[in-house]
Amino acid sequence: MTKPQIKEYNCETQIEIIRDATDAEIAQMELDAAEYKARKIAEAEAKAAEEAAKQQAFNDAVAAAVAAILAAQTPATTAEPTVEE
């Protein structure tokens, strides 16, 4: 399996080389990639939570509006006549 490649430009010598990454560099790349993956998951979860909150707010608003309409259309309750002895 080929190793990740590193390009290095030396400003003093103006020489550019391409070399295999060292074991330490590969280990760091794996840490960076894991961090990237975790960040993407966190971003996706935050976006999903935001969408869910928006949907819930919409549902709540619709439910409140429906309740208000029903309340306006329902006649006032007439008290049951009491039985006189």
Partner: protein, 171 residues
């Protein structure tokens, strides 16, 4: 008659340190042995394109991957912890279209007294819709006083596909 001494005009100007620019390649590009003779550095990256869609481009100074960086954007901030292992340079970019450009300034890079301050302004094609743009302004502080003699650029995951980095010294 008073004699007024006129200061010598400063020549100043920008010098391209990595002659011809350095094409982004592989998993990382390192610009090393940066001379400490300038006042500050300007790093321009043209047309950054990662192999993996929506991957940001990061930078490290002197190959330092410890939590010695802090990144902020937007409004002024206070009491920021140094909890990042690298500095953000370019926004998540498309792996199919690369019309982006990143302009970064690095202050105090050569002195051995101050922490290092970096400002980065990046535009990339939005990965999910390449006719739109991702625009980021980041401010980074690196809390070391050693002179910066090398800068590593890398996509946070995977490889570079293309792009070119130009490092200028400014006097």
């Amino acid at each position: 008659m008073a004699i007024v001494q006129v200061p010598t005009p400063q020549t100043g100007g920008m010098t391209l340190i990595n002659a011809g620019g350095t094409t982004l390649y592989g998993a990382s590009v390192i610009i090393s042995s940066i001379p400490g003779t300038f006042n500050y550095l300007i790093l321009i990256v043209d047309a950054y394109k990662p192999a993996t869609n929506d991957v940001v481009m990061m930078a490290r100074f002197n190959s330092d991957s410890n939590t010695r960086y802090t990144v902020s954007s937007g409004n002024d901030t206070s009491s920021n912890p140094f909890n990042e292992t690298s500095a953000y340079v370019a926004a998540g970019a498309s792996n199919s279209t690369s019309n982006g450009i990143t302009f970064t300034e690095i202050y105090g890079y050569a002195n051995t007294t101050t922490w290092k301050s970096m400002i980065s302004n990046s535009i990339t094609n939005t990965p999910s819709s390449t006719t739109q743009v991702n625009h980021r302004n980041w401010r980074v502080v690196y809390n070391q006083t050693s002179a910066i003699t090398s800068i590593s650029l890398f996509p946070q995951s995977g490889n570079f596909t293309s792009g070119t980095a130009y490092l200028y010294g400014v006097k």
